[in-house]
C-alpha cells in the first residue's frame, strides 16, 4: 500500500524579479497513516512551502507529491479544492475562523462544500465540537471565545470531514504556553485515535510532542527520525539550545 504522503525529490522555485528563490530543494520523504510528524525549521527553511504543498494549496515546481498514491502535481484547481475538502484538515496559527458565522456554522463549512445536507451537517458539526469540549457554545461567535477555545473550534473544523491528514501550522503560535499545551494534548489524542497529524513549527519544545521529526534547513531535509533522538534538535551541527536568536531569521 502506498504511503499516505510521499515527496519524490520535490522542489519549489520562486522567481522574484531577477532573483530565483529555491524554497524546497529536492525534498524526499514519506509519511505513513497514523503517524504524528513534526516538520521543524526556522523561517526560510522551507517548512511553509512544504506545508502548502502537503496541503494542496500549492504544487511542486519539480518532482512529485503523491497523496494517498495520487499525483497532485497534474491536478487542476477544482480537483485540488476537492482533495483539500476531502483529505485535509487545516489548523492555522491565527485560527482563521469566519467571524460572521457561529461556531456550528464555522465547523459546517467544509461539509457544505462537500455537498452534505443541512441536517447531517449540523449533526456532524455538533459532534465535532463536542469532541473538543465546546458543545455548550454552538451558537456563539468566534470573537466571544478565548484564543484557546477558538483554536479548539478550528480543530473541530479540521476533523469534522474525517480527513486523511490533519495539518497544523504553528497551532500554538498565538497561544500562551498553558493553552498551547492543551491544544497539543488534543492533537495527541486525535493521533491516538488513529488520525495522521502533521505539525509544522519552528519551536523544538512543541515539535517534541510528535513522534517523528523532519528538520528542514535551506529547503533540504537535514534530519528525519524519531523525536527521542537528540540529533533531532541540532541545528547545522550545533545543538539548537546554543544557537543564538533561536526562532529568528535563518541565513
Amino acid at each position: 500500500m502506498a504511503s499516505l504522503i510521499e515527496f519524490r525529490e520535490v522542489s519549489k522555485i520562486y522567481h522574484m524579479g531577477d532573483s530565483v528563490v529555491i524554497a524546497a530543494n529536492k525534498i524526499s520523504m514519506r509519511i505513513e497513516r497514523g503517524e504524528f510528524v513534526a516538520i521543524v525549521g526556522q523561517s526560510g527553511s522551507g517548512k511553509s512551502t512544504c506545508m502548502n504543498i502537503i496541503g494542496c494549496l500549492d504544487v511542486p515546481t519539480e518532482g512529485q507529491y503523491l497523496l494517498d498514491g495520487q499525483d497532485v502535481g497534474g491536478m487542476n484547481k477544482n480537483k485540488l479544492a476537492e482533495i483539500r475538502n476531502r483529505m485535509l484538515g487545516f489548523i492555522f496559527q491565527q485560527y482563521n475562523l469566519l467571524p460572521k458565522l457561529n461556531l456550528l456554522e464555522n465547523v459546517e463549512v467544509p461539509l457544505m462544500y462537500a455537498g452534505l445536507g443541512a441536517h447531517e451537517r449540523k449533526e456532524r458539526a455538533a459532534e465535532a465540537l463536542a469532541r473538543v469540549g465546546l458543545s455548550d457554545k454552538l451558537k456563539n461567535r468566534p470573537n466571544q471565545l478565548s484564543g484557546g477555545q477558538q483554536q479548539r473550534v478550528s480543530i473541530a473544523r479540521a476533523l469534522v470531514g474525517n480527513p486523511s491528514v490533519i495539518l497544523a501550522d504553528e497551532p500554538t503560535g498565538a497561544l500562551d504556553s498553558h493553552t498551547g499545551r492543551e491544544v497539543l494534548g488534543i492533537l495527541q489524542d486525535l493521533n491516538r485515535q488513529g488520525n495522521t497529524v502533521v505539525l509544522i513549527t519552528h519551536d523544538n519544545s512543541i515539535a517534541a510532542t510528535a513522534h517523528r521529526i523532519i528538520r528542514l534547513e535551506d529547503g533540504c531535509v537535514v534530519y528525519d527520525g524519531p523525536s527521542t533522538d537528540p540529533r533531532a534538535f541540532v541545528h547545522a551541527g550545533i545543538p539548537v539550545a546554543q544557537v543564538p536568536g533561536e526562532g529568528g531569521a535563518a541565513t
Partner: protein, 397 residues
Amino acid sequence: MKLWESLKMAFSNIWSSKMRSFLTMLGIIIGIAAVMVIVGLGNGMENYMTESFESLGINTLTVSIRGRGSSRTVTADQMYQIVADNPEYLDLISPTVSMNTSVKFGSETSTTTSVTGVSEDYLKIKDYSVTTGRGLEYVDIYNRKKVCVIGSYVNETYFSGNGVGQTFKLGGNQFTVVGVLQEKADSEESSTDDAIYIPYTTASRLSYTGFMSSYTITVKDVDTADKGKTAVEDALYKIFADEDAYTVTSMAEMLDTMTKMVNVVITILAAIAAISLVVGGIGIMNIMLVSVSERTREIGIRKALGAKERWIKSQFVIEAAVTSMLGGILGIAVGYGLSSIATIIATNMLSVDITVAPSANSVLMAFGISAGIGVLFGYLPAKKAAQLNPIDALRYE
C-alpha cells in the same frame, strides 16, 4: 453547494452591513423608480389621448370643404360617389351642417342645444343608438322632412321623457320628434346629449346654403385609414385641382402621430433615467470590489476548506444580484408610490384625467434589468475573488 445556501449567505452578508448595502442599492432604487414613473406617465398619456380620440370616433375622416372661388364646389352627391368608388377603404358618409338657429320648446328657448343636419347614416357613424322611436331614414332626407331625433338631455328637460311624437319650433319651422337617443354624457347641458339631429337636406334648405362644407366619413378599417384619406384627397384634387380647397383629417392618423411623439419623448426621458441604472450598477461593482478585498482572508479560508473557484464566483455574483434585485424591488415600490402621487397631482392640480400606471410588463422588465445589472456588474469582482491565490489570501491582513 446549493443555490439556497448561496442565497442565504448573500442575504446574511447584505444584512450584516445594512447601511452600506442600502446606499449601494440607492442608485438602482432611484433608476428603477424613475424609469417606472416615466414609462407609467407615457402609458397614462397615451391612454388619455386614445380615450379622447375614441370619443370623437377614431375610425372617422373629417372632410372640410372651403371651395375655390364661388364657381367650383362639390355636391353631396359627388361626395357620396367618392365613398362609393372606394368601397375597400371607405364605409359610410354623412354631411354635417351646423345650424345657428334658436330652438323653441313651447315657451322655452334653448341656447345651448346644438342642431346639426346629418344623413341617415350619421347615428351609425357616431355609434349612437335610438332608445325610443326611430332614427332618421332615407325618405326623411329625400323628402326634406321636418323631423328629428333628439338627445336624452333634450328629451328629459323639455319633453319630460316623452319626446317622441311631440313638436317644437326651429327658426319658425315646426319639427316633429321621431326618436330619442341613448344617453352618452350623463345628460348634461351642452353635452352631446343636448343635441338635435335633422335631415341635412332640410338643414341646407333652412339655412339657404347650396353646399355642405363638412362631411364625416367612416373607414372600413382603422389600420387602412391613411389609404382612405388618400383616396378622398385624390378625388377632391380631381374636382378642385387645388390642395387648399379642402382638408381631410384622419382621427386615427392624428392619434398615431401624437402617440408617436409622446413615445419619442417618453423613450428619451426613460433613457436618461436608465443612465442612473448604469451608475447604480457601477456602484454595486465598486462596493463588491471593496467587499472582495475586505474578505480576502475569508476567501482564502474557504478555498483552503475546499471551496471551488466557481462556488466563490457564484457566491459573489449572487450577492451582487441579490443586492441589485432588492434595490429593484424597493425601486418598484417607490415607483408605484410616486406613480400614485403623480396621478393625484395630474388629476387634482392639473385637472387632467391621466392615470400614471406602470404596466405589469414594465415592472417585470425593471426587476429583470435590476437582476441583470447585478449579475453583469458583479461578475468582474466575483471573478477577481475566485482567482485569488489561497496562500496569499490566507496571509492577507
